[in-house]
């Protein structure tokens, strides 16, 4: 019996993984070969998906990107024993794109069977919770604080400090809410955890509940991820049946359960207070803070709202210690970050490493430049509210503070690469359109300003009164930034002003007769 891994990760499915599995089953039965196909998550080498891995005495040998049509020739080449084939990438662990990473939070993603508790514990799953039970809630919060972990959702608020606030309320009931409303363009890290290592998220939430005295957790997942919802629901059932969740978690007197809730296509729900409104079944209109959710959150109770990546990092922090985690990174950006290299890029995927690589290393060395083969012109970092970087800033280290100094943000770790065909004025207008579409409507500068912004950038593109309209857009961005409660209206100036300041030529095309094509 040969063990074969073919990811059920959504990206692998989008590239035909189901057809590959069907072809392997068909071919194996026709040839009388006995195979066991495990549906793992993705290792994150996304350009190789679907990536078939065959377990051999030499290790796991990879073949990708595979299509159903390749399957007969893979059998002919003896792939079941690691035979040579044009798609063979050798031992996956030795592949430079993998070997160069520091897999910390994502250590098991793509490696294990996501729905096998046995496989998960064999790879170290559950040790973080055991350690938390051993040291108690206060020492758990201390360990998380020591790790230097900062919120991976985008705001980068120190996780330990957030937990301390909630624990200090000593409320009889509080909640753990996991923000899995991953709406940022260019990101898929949360999805990969939920599809590839769901028990680790469950473990992280349980530790969080234990440390903060919460008995109930919610995962708020965006509706664009039906496969993640499916895998995570199954994982919850399996965890309950094996006492990883329930009235007596692992035989202790601590009780904790998790409910999965699916959003309904509103980007603003990634903002913690509108997420809470949505969980409560309302229009997801941003709340005024203070009080922060850590004091008055879900159903008026103190609530920890953490991102998937933050919560999934907690088990390894508890298992290996805060110092181990803090050993990665630079400056005040501690730990490893899952950089999601996306868009027009040759080697796209999730690359986890300590903070501090330069943007140029990430885009050119790791990402391999553009997919189209044209020169890189811009990289948008941190999702739709993040800044565009020109190549002249490619020596910027990937670090919260270095980015903030440039009026940019690391955010949730997305990096979207564009080639030289991009028109940043069009992208700036698209940012305003997106803001208009997704604004919850609470703050006038965001609700109305975004619509005026679309019109004004449209005038600039058409060459109407360019200087005056550029000044107007600058002023509008300032108003939206200062006059919006949340990070949608409050940060949408980043892509627009970075485009305007760093790619000014794109806003003056209409004024240049030579630009007429």
């Amino acid at each position: 019996m040969t063990k074969i891994f073919v990811p059920r990760d959504m990206a692998a499915l989008a590239m035909g993984a189901e057809r590959v599995v069907a072809a392997i089953e068909k071919e194996a039965s026709a040839r009388g070969e006995s195979v066991q196909i495990v549906r793992n998550g993705s290792r994150g080498l996304l350009w190789l998906e679907p990536l078939i891995e065959v377990v051999t005495p030499q290790g796991r040998i990879g073949y990708g990107p595979a299509a159903a049509a390749h399957v007969p020739s893979l059998f002919d080449a003896g792939f079941l024993t690691g035979g040579a084939h044009a798609l063979c990438i050798g031992k996956v662990e030795d592949h430079p794109w993998w070997a160069r990473q520091n897999r910390v939070t994502f250590a098991r993603v793509g490696v294990i069977d996501p729905l096998s508790l046995e496989d998960w514990t064999a790879h170290g799953g559950g040790r973080g919770l055991a350690r938390a039970f051993e040291v108690g809630p206060a020492a758990t919060i201390e360990e998380v604080t020591k790790s230097g972990l900062r919120g991976r959702g985008g705001a980068a608020f120190p996780t330990g400090a957030k937990w301390k606030r909630i624990a200090a309320t000593k409320a009889p009931q509080c909640y753990v809410v996991c923000n899995a409303d991953e709406g940022d363009s260019g990101t898929y890290a949360d999805r990969m955890i939920m599809e590839g290592d769901p028990f680790t998220l469950i473990e992280g939430m349980t530790i969080c509940g234990f440390a903060n005295g919460a008995s109930k957790g919610f995962v708020y997942l965006c509706c664009e991820y039906p496969q993640a919802a499916d895998v995570f629901s199954k994982a919850l059932e399996i965890a309950r049946a094996a006492d990883w969740l329930g009235k007596n978690v692992r035989g202790s007197d601590f009780g904790f359960d998790i409910e999965l809730r699916v959003g309904a296509g509103a980007y603003v729900c990634g903002e913690r207070t509108s997420l809470l409104e949505s969980l409560e079944g309302k229009r997801a209109v941003v709340r005024v803070t203070p009080p922060a959710p850590s004091l008055v959150g879900l159903f008026g109770r103190p609530t920890v709202v953490n991102n998937v990546m933050s919560l999934a990092s907690v088990p390894v922090i508890m298992d290996k210690g805060g110092d181990y985690y803090a050993g990665f990174g630079m400056g005040r950006s501690r730990g490893a970050m899952a950089m999601q290299i996306s868009g027009n890029v040759k080697y796209g995927g999730l690359f986890e490493a300590g903070f501090g690589l330069t943007l140029g290393e990430i885009v050119n060395d790791i990402g391999g430049g553009t997919f189209t083969g044209r020169p890189v012109r811009a990289v948008q970092c941190g999702g739709p509210c993040g800044a565009y970087f020109p190549t002249s800033l490619f020596d910027t280290p990937y670090d919260y503070e270095a980015f903030a100094a440039l009026n940019a943000m690391v955010g949730h770790g997305g990096l979207v690469v564009f080639d030289d065909s991009v028109d940043l004025a069009q992208m700036a207008r698209a940012s305003m359109e997106f803001c208009a579409l997704e604004s919850c409507g609470k703050c006038t500068p965001c609700r109305v300003g975004s619509i005026r912004g679309v019109e004004t950038i449209g005038k600039i593109i058409a060459g109407v009164d360019v200087d005056a309209n550029i000044a107007l857009v600058e002023d509008l961005c300032e108003t939206m930034k200062l006059g919006s409660l949340c990070g949608l209206g409050g940060a949408i100036h980043m892509p627009i002003l970075s485009a305007l300041h760093l790619f000014p030529e794109d806003f003056r095309k209409a004024a240049l007769p030579a630009a007429a094509e």
């Binding site: 989008a14 590239m15 664009e224 079944g281 309302k282 027009n344 890029v345």
Partner: protein
């Protein structure tokens, strides 16, 4: 979308009742009703508002806040094309515009033969395989004109 059944008040009642035990059941029950009947009809909204003891206006307000919920019946199949930045970096806007023109449709419209509804979506998390789409919930990467034409054809025949 395929799989949706015609309105049935007893069945709707059953779905609503099954969710009433949840802490704040609004979103889960809206999802369940839409999954069953394809969209949230006036009857469904009325029934749910009554069960939750809130006004129909309030219920309508919640539903229309979220792009995912529909108050009009969709076509038999549903195609969601991503319009976010990563997909734009790979030319998604042009691919989408040409496809819509070829089908004589605009965003959020349903084909005259009711075979297909085309919707915009902002990020499917398939950003290393842009442009991306979802067809009846199935993800599709590296979307191009031939792939979309094949889907439109498939939608017509099933």
């Amino acid at each position: 979308m395929s799989g949706a059944v015609p309105w049935n008040e007893a069945r709707a009642h059953e779905i609503i009742t099954a969710h009433l035990g949840l802490e704040c059941p609004v979103l889960p029950v809206l999802h369940a009703l839409q999954k069953e009947f394809g969209y949230l009809s006036a009857e469904a909204i009325s029934l749910l508002a009554k069960a939750l003891n809130i006004s129909r206006a309030e219920m309508y307000g919640v539903i229309t806040f979220y792009d995912h919920f529909r108050i009009e019946p969709p076509g038999r199949h549903e195609l969601k094309l991503c319009r976010a930045e990563a997909c734009r970096s790979m030319g998604s806007e042009k691919v989408a515009r040409e496809f819509l023109d070829s089908q004589h449709l605009d965003w959020r419209q349903t084909a005259a033969d009711n075979s297909l509804t085309v919707d915009a979506v902002y990020c499917l998390g398939l950003c290393a395989h842009s442009p991306a789409a979802l067809y009846d919930g199935d993800p599709i990467g590296r979307v191009d004109a031939p792939k979309l034409a094949a889907l439109a054809q498939e939608a017509k025949s099933a």
